[in-house]
């Protein structure tokens, strides 16, 4: 009898311990690294690609914030943490777990040192390349050395799992304090999660007059002042002059308003002209161009134009036909997609560019081939022209190292006689669930001002603060000595042609709606005309969006 009681007691203890083990909280709030989608080879199409080749130009470290002297508090833990976040490959999910563990360690260390921990999440846009990580770590070290109240902790998450990881963190109430750099797209993915900075700007006396007021206003949304300008990326027509020389074509103009000389005739630099030029620059293995008899579209060795990740229908529509608001409605159930017809025509233009009788763009299979750079065609010297924002200058190292040169021309004019450009913008956001909003704003203001001197060149980003723009272009000229001042002027002039509303504008259920756009492009890119009804697919796209917006 006694044995039975003992046995029962042991069984109860065993059950109890199993329950405790099962229900106990995890040791540390690690991001769900292991649940993230597996690493991928292709660059992310939706957002800016992470910088890959270009070594970041590091300027001399700037002075730490003037108001506070570096403290004598030793920070071995912080150093250890920053070392640990040096992820060798952004796709490496194991590195995410290591970074999370290091972050948790740093949190404990900060608390032990009596500092307020502020977590900085990088993974929604650029900033995950190892070289960028190293610069960000320097920034973190500079900041932590500059004062003794806040411990800044860097968390690097691979781009491909960045959104899932952040969503999981937010859902569990363990979101980071600062997120960025992040563009409109990445921000929209977490619409409603950003802190209104208005009161913190006022309380801290942060001088917003250092920015163009229009840029400051652009961050004023229904959620309030959700950000401050940091980096801007105007677009231009990148081109390889040697390819133009080979076929005897003039280079694209470098001043908005200038004409283009085609076959001895002065014409507008519009999409029609652009198309003709792109066709003549599309060459097959036998040396024929796309307009010539005998051209073999199955054996193209160089295309005239590559959109260079600006392939989402929203981007294509904005560039070619002009920015537009893409939905209407006030509440769930009433949202309707309002894509203009000329966006459909713009998309059809790209489809014809791939599968038309005289192609000038790479199809999906061609674009994905290693000899075409796995999608990075211009960098591989496989495209004569590319239209994409300034951030692409981050990633042209292969082209430069191959001995080729590139320049930039103005954006083509739309069918309405107006130039439709696009300006990407990146900044940092504060999560509205942060426990330390004032401290997070202190870090944010440091990142967008003092730290910008190191971060912006690493991100390949044009500073939003006008007086910092010249040093930026000087740094860029060091990377690409062959690029002429006129080219950099083209980018500056591109700031006057923003896409308003942004191609990455907020839509209801943004994540799914944007993903549906990527699927639409992928379908077009990979499906020849005998298997695709373009009109039906466009209509399906709109029908799907009408459902997605109202989910």
């Amino acid at each position: 009898m006694r044995n039975k009681r003992l046995f029962s007691l042991l069984a109860l203890l065993l059950i109890g311990s199993m329950l405790l083990a099962a229900c106990g909280a995890p040791a540390e709030p690690a991001p769900a690294a292991t649940e993230a989608p597996a690493a991928v080879e292709e660059p992310a199409a939706a957002e800016e690609p992470a910088a890959v080749e270009e070594p970041a130009v590091v300027e001399e470290p700037t002075a730490a914030p003037a108001e506070e002297e570096p403290t004598a508090v030793p920070e071995p833990e912080a150093a250890a943490e920053t070392e640990a976040t040096l992820t060798p490959e952004e796709e490496d999910a194991a590195a995410v777990a290591a970074a999370a563990a290091a972050s948790a360690e740093a949190m404990k260390a900060a608390e032990a040192a009596g500092k307020i921990p502020v977590r900085w999440f990088v993974g929604l846009g650029t900033g995950t390349d190892p070289q960028q990580v190293a610069i960000q770590e320097e920034v973190v070290a500079d900041f932590n050395a500059s004062q003794d109240a806040i411990q800044l902790i860097l968390e690097i998450v691979p781009y491909d799992s960045g959104r899932d990881t952040l969503a999981t963190q937010i859902a569990s109430g363990a979101g980071p304090d600062i997120v960025g750099p992040v563009g409109w797209g990445g921000s929209n993915a977490f619409y409603g999660q950003w802190l209104d900075l208005t009161s913190y700007i006022e309380e801290s006396g942060f001088d917003t007059t250092i920015f163009d007021p229009a840029l400051v206003d652009s961050y004023q949304t229904e959620e309030g002042q959700v950000g401050l300008p940091f980096a801007v990326f105007p677009s231009a027509t990148y081109y390889i002059p040697a390819y133009f020389d080979e076929v005897g074509l003039e280079y694209p103009p470098q001043n908005y308003g200038d004409k283009y000389m085609l076959d001895g005739e002065e014409v507008d630099w519009n999409w029609e002209t652009f198309t003709e030029v792109a066709k003549r620059l599309t060459i097959d293995i036998n040396g024929y161009n796309s307009t010539e008899e005998g051209f073999d579209p199955a054996q193209i060795v160089q295309v005239g134009y590559s959109p260079q990740w600006q392939t989402h229908p929203n981007y294509i529509g904005s560039y070619i036909a002009g920015a537009a608001k893409i939905f209407e409605g006030e509440e769930k159930g009433s949202y309707v997609a309002t894509y203009p017809d000329n966006w459909k025509e713009a998309l059809k233009w790209t489809y014809d560019g791939m599968y038309g009788e005289q192609p000038y763009m790479a199809t999906g299979p061609m674009s994905g081939a290693p000899e075409f750079g796995n999608g990075n065609l211009f960098n591989m010297g496989k495209a004569a022209m590319a239209i994409t924002p300034l951030w692409y200058t981050c990633c042209l190292g292969d082209l430069r190292d191959s001995g080729a040169e590139f320049q930039a021309g103005i954006m083509p004019m739309g069918a309405d006689g107006v130039v439709h450009g696009r300006v990407d913008a990146d900044t940092f956001r504060v999560w509205k669930g942060t426990k330390f909003p004032a401290e997070a704003f202190t870090v944010l203001s440091y990142l967008i001002t003092t730290a910008g001197d190191k971060l912006l060149p690493a991100y390949g980003a044009l500073p939003a603060i006008p007086e910092k723009q010249e040093p930026f272009f000087e740094a860029k000229s060091n990377d690409y000595p062959f690029v002429t001042p006129e080219t950099w002027e083209v980018f500056k002039a591109g700031l006057s042609y923003p896409d308003a509303p942004s191609a990455e504008q907020y839509t209801p259920n943004w994540n799914e709606a944007f993903a549906r756009g990527n699927t639409m492009w992928d379908l077009l890119q990979n499906t020849p005309p005998d298997q695709l009804d373009f009109d039906a697919e466009w209509q399906k796209y709109l029908d799907d969006l009408n459902v997605i917006f109202n989910k």
């Binding site: 292709e42 769930k332 299979p365 994905g368 081939a369 379908l523 499906t527 989910k551």
Partner: protein, 333 residues
């Protein structure tokens, strides 16, 4: 049907029956419950509770980023109404088909291969003329031991259109470069590619078939031979009926697995649905709805649709079983 299913299950005692039990029986029952209680508790916490939670979610308007502290909004049947009107699930239009049809179309290719190929291999393995049976069995089963994710990565490398040795071999055999398949990046080749990858894991099914085949009494074959039956007749009249419960078991598991198909498109095509949305299988779309699109309510609603679809198909298969599955010793009315 339900009664048939219920027939073999043990009955739970009523309160009255419990009171009428002898002290010994009561103690035995208590101890029995105590022993299975870890499983019961685990089931309650990790299976039943999430199921109930997901059912509740499906009647709410809840986004993953709403956080754990925000008050969810009641949505009634909105998610279900939306679900049955969602073209991304139901659309039959070629090009961007709905995820459910993508799953079904893939199943039409994958299921026969997943059932008949291991059956064929098992028949070969069971052949008494085969030398080195053990070696072959081990060889066919071995891939099953390797973690499937690793295997999928491996296949991804082998089927790489440019660097994979399969295409290199095809080109070495004289196939022009532009004619070699683009495998997982080609809308027309992606499903066959997935089927080829799936073949890697047939070792387990083969082993189950083999066990079934070895349970067929040899006297039946001897009698058939005496009656002049050829190999095909023996297979059709003896082998298949005798292993039909095994075929049925594999079929049910395969159908359930089909609706839950997820890993290969997630790893090979990064869960993007590429190429052209052709790999946005229902379960993958469910996962993305939940975690990437952050729509917990709609994801939960999709999960319940998946549950009912699997249940309906399974019940249907059980319904057909009486016409083609033979259980030795079964009494038929």
């Amino acid at each position: 049907m339900f009664q048939e299913l219920q027939r073999g299950l043990p009955k739970l005692p009523t309160l009255r029956a419990y009171r009428e039990m002898t002290p010994l029986k009561r103690r035995e029952m208590r101890e029995g419950l105590l022993f299975i209680s870890p499983w019961l508790v685990g089931f309650l916490i990790f299976t039943l509770l999430p199921m109930v939670a997901s059912l509740i979610f499906s009647f709410l308007d809840l986004k993953i980023t709403d956080g754990i502290t925000s008050a969810p909004k009641f949505a009634g049947l909105d998610n279900y109404v939306q679900l049955f009107q969602d073209p991304q699930i139901w659309s039959l239009q070629s090009g961007t088909r709905g995820s459910l049809w993508i799953t079904i179309f893939f199943g039409i290719i994958a299921l026969p291969v997943g059932i008949f190929l291991p059956l064929g291999i098992a028949l070969l393995m069971n052949n008494r003329h085969l030398k080195g049976q053990m070696a072959f069995r081990s060889a066919f089963y071995m891939p099953y031991i390797i973690p499937f994710v690793a295997a999928v990565f491996l296949w991804g490398g082998m089927l790489n259109p440019e660097t994979g040795w399969i295409n290199r071999a095809l080109m070495a055999l004289g196939m022009p470069r532009e004619s070699v398949p683009n495998w997982a990046n080609d809308i027309n080749w992606v499903y066959p590619t997935y089927v080829i990858m799936g073949i890697w894991g047939i070792g387990n099914a083969m082993l189950i078939f083999l066990a079934g085949l070895q349970g067929v009494p040899t006297e039946l074959y001897d009698a058939a031979k005496v009656d002049g039956a050829n190999a095909w007749q023996s297979f059709r009249k003896i082998t298949f009926p005798m292993i039909s419960p095994v075929v049925f078991y594999i079929l049910v598991l395969s159908v359930v697995g089909l609706f839950q198909f997820f890993l290969i498109p997630l790893v090979v095509n990064q869960g993007t649905g590429r190429p052209g949305g052709a790999t946005m299988f229902f379960n993958l779309y469910l996962y993305k709805t939940f975690f990437t699109f952050q729509n917990m309510s709609y994801g939960a609603t999709m999960a319940w649709l998946l549950f009912f679809l699997i249940m309906i198909v399974t019940v249907f298969l059980f319904g057909t079983a009486r016409y083609w599955v033979y259980y030795a010793g079964e009494r038929r009315s």
